[in-house]
Subunit: 344 residues, 2 copies
Amino acid sequence: MRIVITGGAGFLGARLARALLSQGQFSVNGQPPGTIEQITLVDQFKPPADLLADARVRACVGELNGLLIPGPNGTQAIAKGTDVVYHLAAAVSAECEADFDLGMRSNLAATQALLAACRALGTTPVVVFASSLAVFGLPAEAPYPSGPWIVTDDTLPTPQTSYGIQKFIGEQLTADYTRKGYIRGRAARLMTVSVRPGKPNGAASGFFSGMVREPLAGLKGACPVAPETEVALSSPNRTIEGLLRVGQSSDAEWGPRTAINLPALVTTVGEMAAALQRVAGKAVADLIDWTPDANIRRIVRSWPGRVESPRARGLGLQADPDFDTVIRDYIRDNPTAIKGITGA
Amino acid sequence: MRIVITGGAGFLGARLARALLSQGQFSVNGQPPGTIEQITLVDQFKPPADLLADARVRACVGELNGLLIPGPNGTQAIAKGTDVVYHLAAAVSAECEADFDLGMRSNLAATQALLAACRALGTTPVVVFASSLAVFGLPAEAPYPSGPWIVTDDTLPTPQTSYGIQKFIGEQLTADYTRKGYIRGRAARLMTVSVRPGKPNGAASGFFSGMVREPLAGLKGACPVAPETEVALSSPNRTIEGLLRVGQSSDAEWGPRTAINLPALVTTVGEMAAALQRVAGKAVADLIDWTPDANIRRIVRSWPGRVESPRARGLGLQADPDFDTVIRDYIRDNPTAIKGITGA
């Protein structure tokens, strides 16, 4: 098995690579698992050292669009013999709002070029397209739903960002390339990932991680929305579990060619803060700064808080049981990022 | 007012041009109507002579993609000063199934280039994107709905052809260019147009016109599906009426940036045959050849028979009242194509 991960040096890409290397095998379309011989990490950055140290890992560093142009030596990113492609690379939401052409190039044109390269293989590779909860959006001019806003696998997405539009178009292209038999497409929408380790990244959704991660490190963490704000989230571990399962689903298990929602833990920001207090103590939870930010509030208000995932559940995937568990997993996985916990 | 119509030499494009020339004025976003100074017909074919004879008509003949590339003399198809663009040009469904690259180039890449050219104007032109009922499709592997299959403006489209996917992607791009303020987008889904004049065109939906047009000309006309088959159709006149209204809607009237379904007369093939008998007599209706065709049946089965159009109705648009009226209009508009009517 030869697997390609675009965005392979990023947070999720590197985690996915480690999980794949650790399981050592991969099953395509319900067939007996085959040994993973090679994982190619395509990214504009060099992959982490632990991954480069594995003899099965090949790094392909550069701008994705450029790496997908067929050249005299063949396409560099999607080489002959590729069995599986995880397409995680994307310019993020805020970047695409600030620079329309960047999003069209990095998200739309790159996805088109990637699918064309996969088709050119002539071997119907598995292509997991990482879509996003961001395909759903509530128009600013629409009346806010009186009850909870629930989205399911069959809800019509109405993206309110270029990023969301580009992801939704990627879903459509994945579906049609699959219908034509060019690829075996699996489009799965990732939920808000929390708790992300590392530094704040400036994304509007960043506080869903930061309000936990920063206090656990002994720092102030901003939560600019009201405690009753609903959020559909997934821990890094469950997110990777979803990507692994989706890529290894058979055509019959997968069903329709439309995208699926990965499972979400539906909770509120207030509940997240309460979980932090239960797990890490009051002093840590008191580091959350509840100063409101009207701009972030407006963006977050356009996202659905409640997500249903019937097809993902049909694949056996489950949401995180509760946010206490998510925080405990984060503490266990990131021991050097924790300071001054009293209640863990 | 300077108006561009892509596909402007085609059946609908030429009719739209005649209707615009006849009304002489055009209103953008609720403003007082302005005089139409120029209509540019962009098409791979030369427009009909009656249109070329009008001093306001400019023909731009060639392959659309080529005409959209900005050159030393500016973009040829979308010239500076363009106020309104009707984008009707497309490779049709059967062509795109036979030649995937053709559809990606003529429908997807051309639409992207057209939108980019409209954005480059810097003047937020109105862009009417002619989408299609073909965005809706029932997967072959899905169980057929036990009741009638009803689609509305909020139904999640699951296109089952590359043409449908490309149209649905065009809707998404139109929505995002509009959100960004680059264009004033109006994406409207055309219904099955019947009765189309002229010769059979080999499209799977062609019989919805041919079963009426051919008998009215004294010829056998095939109807390869069962009489109870439902169809959502629109006469050429109502279709043009819809395009005119949509292009002249204000932002407030238009509402959300998602596509709307134009109104459809929901009827059955059996009812269409009965209407033909009422209008033109039994001898004409007996020219319908009911030999079934399993292949066409399968394709038609994947289309929705019942379409609801709440947003179009909000714009004051109405479906044809009944198929008898549609046939009478066809006879009146196409006197030279009629032979041997006994009951008209």
